[in-house]
Amino acid sequence: MLPELGQIALILALLMSILQGVLPLVGAWRKSPALMAVGRPAAVGQFLFVALAFGILAYAFLTFNFSVEYVANNSNLALPWYYRFAAVWGAHEGSMLLWMLILNVWTLSLAIFSPRLPEDFGARVLGVLGLLSVGFLLFILLTSNPFGRLLPAPADGADLNPVLQDPGMTFHPPVLYMGYVGFSVAFAFSIAALLGGGVDKQWVRWARPWTNLAWGFLTLGIVAGSWWAYAELGWGGWWFWDPVENASFMPWLVGTALIHSQAITEKRGTLPAWTVLLSIFAFSLSLLGTFLVRSGVLTSVHSFASDPRRGVFILIYLGIVIGSSLLLYALRAPKVAGGKPFAPLSRETLLLIVNLLLTTSAAMVLLGTLFPLIGDAFGWGRISVGPPYFGTLFILLMAPAIVLMPLGPFARWGRAGGRLLVKVFVQAAIVAVLLGGILFAAEYSGVPPWRAILGGLASIYVIYGVVAYAIRRWREAPAGNRYPAEMLGMLIAHLGVGIFLAGVLLTTALSVEHDVRLAPGQTETIGAFAFRFKGIKHTEGPNWKADQGTVEVLENGKPLTVLHPQKRTYERGQVQTESDIDAGPLRDLYVAMGEPLDNGAWALRIYVKPFIRWLWGGGVLMMLGGFVAASDRRFRLKRNASGSAATTATLDPASVRGMNRILPLLGFALLVGLFGFGIWWNTLHDQREVPSPLIGKPAPAYNLPLLDDPSTTVSKHEMLGQPYLINVFASWCFACGEEHPVLMQEAQQLGIPLVGYDYKDQPSDAKAWLDKHGNPYSMVVTDQSGDTAINFGIYGAPETFLIDANGVIRYKHIGPLTPNVIKTVLEPKIAKLKRGER
């Protein structure tokens, strides 16, 4: 009963969101205070209903309610409660619900903390957010309902993906979504400004703290994701330029550009159209990220469950949201007025250059991420773009931005002093070279790799700039007003960039990574560190068993620590590597288990990673900077605030010319076309329902020996007269082991014979395997050579064929059968065949 309440809550939330989306906008248009006033209560109501739905789903997880399909698919009795809670967002449906909840949290905060927004403007903002909710709630209700039932309820559920069974999982997705979705606020402000037309540019000031907050969350989310990949996934890397990572990185790049351009627009009234466009882009890329992750258009190592139908829905949603906002931009952009002029050398120019570099980087990442899709579209073959593409271009694009970074604060608005900038640059460069040289000479014999030099120098260069500016403010500004929160936030974030740079480049250049084979007692030495492998022992957790290695670490011959990496096997057979790390400010010692080799030896990954903590430390500082800046008092809403600079700006229709206005829309149309193609292509090439040319055709003739009695054979002819299933399996097949318990449980209830097809297997192996795991089959035939399999179009195990009484193949399932597939697909088809229908 409760899960149905959850669904009803979502439907009520949808109604609320429609109220919130439509009435305030109409009210702002018709100047009706009554209608505009609907926004806030509707937002509160919507939040309550979505939170209720979320709570009900969480409760279903905590109480093992396996009659809810989503719960059954993502948790089981052995899963500890904290992972059952995190499992709420462990797969598609729940993570969309989390997305929705977070959108509501932002909307609610806006409704509560911005009561002083002008009535019509506030109404428009809430209206836009309401419309976003409408689309997303529809998406959840129509394609991703988390409350779908599975009746009768199974006794136990499946498992949460073991990769997600990590403390990071409880933390990373919500924070990342806070960032992603947070850009919706800046978006809503921009759209409201475009809709309102005549609104003064104070809206940028109101939008800034929200953007900074969202950016801070996104930064933290990405940092947490990177740390998680490093600590949990056992690959030892911290960034892979994987499509899913890129999906979060693109909004970050554009978001970074946005917080800088908002500063220009707010302080000087300049470039409002650009700021509006960036707000649209930042949120669009967030949506795009969701689309990329959720639609399965791109294959990724993360590869969460995906479904092309959802892809179509998200694409339509994306099309409406982004298309209409860009259209609005094309129509209304010039009405958001011009601003103060600035000289070629000014803070505006520097920020603009950095803006262009950041957006170009985002475009570059987008191109590389989507390139496989473009390759498909143009028939260039199956292409992927290697990480060096991203790495090289990114460094090239960001290098000028880093050079400009310390200069920015010193450059004055309007017109900057060239000599001062040159002086700062020269000083910073000299300090970097001197200090860097001394540090390297002290710590490093010989010439360090160029990346290390670059990283060290760039880091010192940037940090010097921050410190120099802080000192200058201390000297020149009146006490009490030396470091307003906004500036302090900027300084902290820039400091973070400096530390991040050192982390990235030093760890890339100086890491030593040894993948080695070690027998118990053997030692691997990296620099001053000796890693002695002392063997493994078995250990157990709530829902896993593990081989746990013991690795003793000596530094210069003295015992330093003992590391215990694990190779876990979860209840459902999934294997997961748990690395063990001795973390330190200057270096991490990282050990992960590879695989068992003969004679008790193991393949081990042993890494020494200098300065790797710095890159996350830098990221955390950046986040902190975003939060501190957001807290600036200037952003608190007082209508009489000193916004004269912004409000007196004149209208400059030349700022955005005709073609420039339509260009974003055209580019977007192109993208939509590409994605539409991607979905169509995927549906056409969906591997889960291979359009076997044999479906609807007679099964190929076969004559195969029985496993138990090779002298007797079974032919297709003998099987005519009744429908039956052929299940392709093999003792060597891993996925068959997952499928087997399902067959053991369900075979009897199918009501038709289940023929085992032992594929490319030794009969003795197959017999032993069936003895061990049980035999669900009515009979087992063997195809040792695999010749008959070619006629059947079998390319792996497990596969299952449904053959009717006339010997015609009616259905083929590739991959392990699950209770769900049997219930929803196979049984209805069997019932039909039994009734004599096709």
């Binding site: 294959t299 469950a305 084979r517 393949a603 990954r605 291979v690 297997d761 392990p816």
Partner: protein
């Protein structure tokens, strides 16, 4: 030209120059880092580059994995069920690497075998990466065409049960 126009011209030229540099760099970087995916059949047909890096997709052939006794070197065979390609790889194989499961190996040809630098494997949820499934389906189609061609040539057409 008035100064305003002149400035606009200079800015335009600068933007065009920057765009040109950016585009050529991007194209260059893309060319250097594009990895095509081929099935053993395609490699056999000479479609894969002889020296450049590419990705080999298929299924790890059953009973083909041989570990070296003293190092992390491992030999295995990637197959699309029509052609086999021996692969040499030194390093740690991913958790999901199994015989009979699909795999994508990045590397290059060395004589008649493939030297892998990175191995990606997975079996969960999607069972087989789309690209691999595609490659195998293609190989299958090619194999079937060839088989029927041979049958025609021999004049005997024992069509599979139809």
């Amino acid at each position: 030209m008035n100064p305003k126009r002149k400035r606009r011209l200079i800015i335009t030229l600068l933007v065009i120059a920057a765009a040109a540099v950016a585009i050529s760099l991007t194209v260059f970087a893309l060319q250097q880092n594009m990895n095509y995916l081929y099935s053993p059949t395609e490699v056999d047909a000479g479609k894969a580059p002889a020296h450049h890096q590419f990705r080999l997709g298929g299924v790890v052939k059953e009973h083909s994995v041989v570990r070296d006794g003293n190092s992390l070197k491992v030999d295995f065979v990637v197959t699309d069920r029509f052609h086999d390609m021996p692969v040499v790889y030194t390093g740690i194989l991913p958790d999901l690497f199994r015989e009979g499961q699909s795999v994508i190996v990045t590397g290059h040809m060395d004589g008649n075998h493939f030297v892998g630098t990175e191995v990606l494997a997975k079996h969960d949820e999607t069972y087989m990466p789309r690209e691999v499934a595609d490659a195998i389906r293609k190989a299958q189609a090619a194999g079937r065409a060839k088989a029927s061609h041979m049958k025609d040539a021999h004049g005997s057409t024992p069509k599979g049960g139809s």
